[in-house]
Symmetry: C2
Subunit: 204 residues, 2 copies
């Protein structure tokens, strides 16, 4: 069985659990104390020299970091990742959008507002507004897309939806108000009603 | 023929040109004035609502943003993107590393130090050190990998190498010193010696 090194409330780790669930691939969870610095320790850096969770470790010891790369690996040969070349290009487009234009604002603000040690939070006060602006810009791009389409790519539920769902559905924890984004809210509900869905809090 | 909407000195756009060259796919270049705000204008936002270059437009009008998604699309069925599932997972790992842990520091510092309008640069003075720290952390991860292997994934030259080459080979323009990264320097030379290589300045 694969082992997922993870921090349970991280959206990036939730992406992998939700993909594994929808792909019916069993994974073992190994919790890592990212706030306490465990991802910067020697043992973890041997798995991922970039010092980040999630990292998936296969039974033979091979390790794969990067949430969206892990999702792709688990979703191959399932309905979450259609074989069509253009469909895959569009899925990748949204996966890179998520990591470059969405996560650095919406996930980062949530971390510093809701999870970071209290003393450390003050050092990021000057970033609260830029993170808000960047996050709302990303939500605007999503709203425009979802006003005309039910899903992000290929006309069906794919790993592009899982990737963007992970931090969008908890954006309020970072201080984002989703009410001005009705198409995003309807899409969040659509994802949550997929058969087999599980919440970010669920262990399995 | 595909048309690449691009800013010529952008490493993200260079990635696409270099991939197209190695894949022997002809593309037409359409320059976009990103510094003058053309990517935020109505006409461009119809192509890419996220307002960024590169964006590839196919002959039938379909548009694909995100440099690494475009590279993947162009490289399918070529030696730049092997079919093996684990090789592809590793390529994606490095493509996401590039967009999350490398480009936001190394490319962003280069833009603000070397290309941004002079007046605007002052507004980013407080970011110069964080960008330097993040960039050197990424270079450290690359150095560790390349000390033991010639290429980033699959034991051969792939789009993972092209993605990381694009901004690493011009990192000095952003104030980065690569001398402490000898394996990175050897790899840069290896990429530049690939048959068919072209420089960031070349038009075709």
């Amino acid at each position: 069985m694969h082992t997922l090194y993870q921090f349970h409330l991280s959206g990036n780790c939730y992406k992998v659990r939700l993909t594994a669930r929808h792909a019916s691939i069993p994974i073992a969870l190994q919790d890592v104390d990212i706030i306490g610095g465990e991802t910067r320790g020697h043992a973890f850096l041997k798995l991922n020299p970039n010092g980040r969770v999630p990292t998936l470790v296969l039974e033979d010891g091979r390790a794969l970091p990067e949430s969206n790369a892990i999702m792709w690996f688990l979703a191959e040969d399932t309905a979450l990742l259609p074989a069509d070349k253009w469909a895959r290009a569009q899925i990748l487009q949204w996966l890179f959008f998520e990591q470059y234009s969405h996560e650095p604002y919406i996930a980062t603000r949530r971390y510093w507002v809701a999870f970071a040690p209290l003393e450390a939070r003050k050092t990021k006060d000057h970033m609260l507004q830029p993170w808000l602006d960047g996050g709302y810009a990303a939500l605007g791009v999503m709203e425009q897309h979802l006003a005309a389409q039910d899903w992000f790519a290929a006309g069906q539920f794919t790993i592009a939806d899982i990737a963007l769902y992970a931090y969008t559905h908890v954006a309020h924890e970072g201080g984002f108000d989703l009410k001005p984004y009705p198409a995003v809210l309807r899409w969040l509900d659509r994802v949550a009603r997929q058969p087999g869905h599980m919440t970010i809090a669920a262990r399995a």
